[in-house]
Symmetry: C2
Subunit: 403 residues, 2 copies
């Protein structure tokens, strides 16, 4: 069995193995597909925002000088020489001493330098004349071209996770697509002769493959994409075929479950140990057996076959790297009082599953067994018991991490 | 213009208009497509978890009574009569006084009631005999069928948002698909003769349609799906065609932008007001013009044409209902000190865009203008200034909502 590797050391090693994934290739994606992606570079707006000088209110475009003295008591009458909607076209310049009816967003004609909102005006019944009842300074209710952003300025910085407001600003800048980081491509391979696809009828000794479903979902939840999935019986050559298929499909990371402990049919161990991979034991419960290696140039992380072990191992060792690459925050971690006393094995970090109770304590759910997949589903946090702790009382503070 | 409706009253009205969307139809989806969906009913496991009694460790399956006196000093020798892997098949019953080598997960044979881990044993060189060096009580290192969950018990409750651990538990229960709530189907229709698709060359007076992109992304971020999108010039008949197409495509909610203010080309107003819709003004800035109605039985929410107004209106009035239906939490809201003094219009709730500064204050970004789409993209929170407040000093506490 050899020495057990410390959890933090294993985590560091996995992180270093995955570090190369952080240098992402880039791709151009249409705005409608870019939600949640990460900008690969600063995004320059080719046009000013707004693109042209336009009206901020429905009203009348005027020369401010022509209405300088206007008030409710002493309104200024101007002939209305036209009407401007928010629509394609270039308006004629405004002739001094006249007004043009204008809609919000319509281009303000050359010569005009203010918009008088409609509520400060009174139109003649035939619309030919407007009485301006309030003076407006030059620039009032006029949005200057570039007043939001100058042409050539960055509308978005590099490295942000794209939310709707970012896509809106890119669209307003006249961009149809954005340069984003490619998502990490992951392969998920379950091993075990006892496994069948969930939903298939179970013969004696068979169980549904929960690890494949769990890892596919966990990879996606961590912002990566799944490029290859397989389920293989305990047969080294079948496993080799699937790992080759994963590499050929462009996987940048291979995750396996099962086949790495001390038993007689440890198919992952048999295949990758001769290639120089490490297959050993980490000082944690559940999830002791772990493996790390490189298969045809692709990092491979091997998890144990127990579904709880695999899920917690992914959460502890792989999710942090993938989430960081995808611009996702780490899960909330918090110190909470234990709802009840617990015991733990000395020398191993125990990861208990639990629930946050209404009164803010952490209550263990379902015991330490690595097969308690329903209990894990009923949990909403993990309770971390340090290696040197063998018992804790109700009320003792423990580190918890949200699931 | 008429009276301005209070923001909270409008929010309540929109919420009531969308309340019927909360009664979701259901659909069956494969586990691999169920991440983030909401369970429509409790999910029963048709099998016990684990499905059969199996070994928790690699070791030897024995009768506990046969090894009752075993210790390091006085080990008990048993003939090894077979080997059991985690693989299909039903093991022969264990004969009293013998042991079977067993791998983790393999079925424990009838007659055996304990597993002695391999580290507490010593095998003869030919494997024919094992010396048991530690007694084990009945049940030790044996996972009983149903010890995680009984057959017929609920493995998942109704109404939860499916995370990887839930899908893993459903898979372990032998389920291939889950009954989930359908996502809300939304149509997004931008109006305005000045609008062109983002990326198209702009003629004078034209601007890219940012609202379509913004609303499509915002609908998805709120957990709903987009069923129809359109961009129409200011032409009532064209708008009617697109709203009909939206209804025919199965949209349950129609969102429009533009065409609802006081100008001369208010196409949404012209179409829906005669149908009994409300088109009016809400006491907020930006986003004063708003519309609500029902088009061929489908709720329609009309937003103003300014992209900032549309985005904030969606966030304030529509996102809360859609997020609640999708099981998403509301955005974080917090009271923060203002980084600088601000002024506000009396009688209107002002929604300023801002950033959380490193020292935990809320700093306004870009001013109140509803055209400042780049400034909104550079913001990470909204600052809510109440209707009755006309000025605030630096350091005054304000309500903020995370973007």
């Amino acid at each position: 069995m050899g020495e057990r590797v410390a959890v933090d050391e294993h985590a560091r090693f996995v992180r270093s193995l995955l570090a190369s994934l952080g240098a992402r290739p880039t791709e151009r994606v249409p705005l409608d597909d870019a939600l949640g992606r990460i900008t690969a570079s600063p995004v320059e707006s080719p046009i000013p925002l707004p693109p042209f000088r336009n009206a901020q209110m429905d009203g009348f475009a005027v020369r401010a000088a022509d209405v300088a003295g206007a008030s409710a008591e002493s309104s200024v009458a101007l002939p209305v020489v036209g009407e401007l909607a928010a629509a394609p076209g270039t308006p004629e310049p405004l002739i001094a001493g006249t007004a043009v009816r204008i809609m919000t967003g319509a281009p303000v004609p050359d010569g005009a330098d203010a918009v008088v909102p409609v509520e400060d005006t009174e139109s003649a019944r035939d619309g030919a004349t407007v009485r301006i009842r309030r003076s407006r300074a030059a620039g009032e209710y006029v949005r200057e071209a570039g007043s939001d952003l100058a042409a050539g300025a960055d509308v978005l910085p590099a490295g942000i996770r794209l939310e709707p407001r970012h896509l809106a600003a890119a669209a307003a800048s006249g961009l149809a697509e954005l340069l984003v980081r490619e998502r990490v491509r992951v392969a998920v391979v379950s091993t075990g002769s006892e496994l069948v696809a969930p939903g298939e009828r179970l013969a004696p000794g068979e169980i549904p493959d929960a690890n494949g479903v769990a890892l596919v979902a966990a990879v996606r939840a961590a912002g990566a994409v799944v490029r290859h999935t397989a389920r293989v019986r305990d047969d080294v050559e079948r496993l080799r075929v699937e790992l080759d298929a994963a590499v050929d499909a462009g996987a940048e990371l291979i995750l396996t479950s099962g086949g790495i402990s001390q038993g007689a049919y440890e198919v992952v161990r048999e295949l990758i140990e001769p290639l120089g991979a490490w297959v050993g034991s980490v000082a944690m419960q559940p999830g002791g057996p772990q493996a790390t290696g490189v298969y045809r140039g692709v990092p491979l992380i091997g998890f144990p076959g127990n579904p709880v072990s695999t899920q917690l191992s992914f959460a502890l060792f792989v999710a942090p790297s993938l989430r960081a690459i995808a611009g996702l925050p780490p899960p909330r971690s918090e110190r909470l009082p234990l709802a009840e006393a617990i015991t733990s094995i000395p020398g191993r970090r125990q990861i208990l599953r639990g629930r946050r109770t209404p009164d803010g304590t952490a209550a263990p759910v379902g015991g330490p067994g690595s097969h308690l997949v329903a209990a894990l589903a009923a949990s909403d946090l993990l309770i971390v018991v340090p290696e040197y702790v063998t018992s804790l009382d109700a009320g003792d503070l423990v580190d918890t991490v949200d699931l």
